[in-house]
């Protein structure tokens, strides 16, 4: 098995999330569950054509999957695995060691004065 190209996965996630319409589509799928393009067009201020375009990009990033179904009622479902890959990059950047190390310094010098 080739080494996982997790940067490529994460990059697609961040590209997908950079667009407000795509964030709105993902948020709608996250909060409301699987939906068709028509459902999404009814709920969001985005045209069906634009939704189709965004769903194509989201599917390519692996962020949504199409459920097999009747031709006109294809439902799209959020697929969270790539999000979990992106999360670990965010976790590395969100990890704050400076504050606890500062607290350690303070804690040690408090011990000196006692």
């Amino acid at each position: 098995m080739p080494p996982p190209d997790i940067e490529a996965i994460a990059e697609q996630v961040f590209v997908a999330l950079a667009d407000p319409s795509r964030r709105a589509i993902l948020a709608a799928l996250a909060s409301g569950g699987p939906a068709t393009a028509t459902d999404l067009a009814a709920r969001l201020p985005i045209t069906r054509q634009a939704i189709a375009k965004h769903l194509a990009l989201l599917a390519e990033a692996g962020l949504v999957t199409a459920e097999p179904g009747e031709r006109r009622r294809v439902r799209y479902r959020l697929h969270s695995a790539p999000m979990q890959v992106a999360q670990q990059f965010l976790a590395a950047m969100a990890r704050d060691w400076d504050r606890p190390l500062g607290a350690l310094k303070d804690h040690l010098s408090k011990g000196d004065t006692q």
Partner: protein, 143 residues
């Protein structure tokens, strides 16, 4: 993109390694600067935990070489509770004059389990392409 797998910080403190060691490896020490509450079984494989107001970190002690190296693994903060990935944290204490040079390295942020890899990368290669073709056709017909 170049995201870090590891994070490294070095600080110099005025206290000798023995005193820093106690702050890092005892429940009393850890609760004085890191967590609000701490518990630790200081031996390789021993468990430790730290509590904050709304979060508890469960740790597993990995390396205990008093007073020079202390290592543990813990859950990656910000990931779901059931995510099995953990990072490794290692503190290294070196004498520096009368004080200590303390280095902390946390590594493993860029790891990915085989399952997660398969799901993230392989799971979406089939199925949706043909469905999207159908969607486009449907939208064309509807417009």
């Amino acid at each position: 993109m170049a995201f870090p797998d590891r994070i490294e910080r070095t600080v110099e403190v005025a206290q000798p390694p023995g005193q820093v060691w106690a702050a890092l490896t005892t429940a009393e020490g850890l609760s004085g600067w890191f967590g609000h509450e701490a518990a630790i079984d200081l031996r390789p494989g021993g468990s430790a935990s730290m509590k904050w107001d709304s979060y508890t970190a469960d740790m597993r002690v990995e390396r205990v070489e008093e007073p020079a190296v202390f290592g543990f693994t813990w859950h990656i903060y910000g990931l779901p509770e059931d995510d099995p990935r953990r990072t490794y944290v290692e503190f290294t204490l070196e004498p520096a004059g009368t004080g200590t040079r303390l280095t902390v390295v946390e590594s493993g942020f860029a790891q990915l389990s085989e399952d997660a890899y398969r799901e993230a990368y392989g799971g979406n290669t089939e199925g949706w392409a043909s469905e999207l073709g159908e969607l486009a056709g449907y939208l064309d017909a509807a417009s």
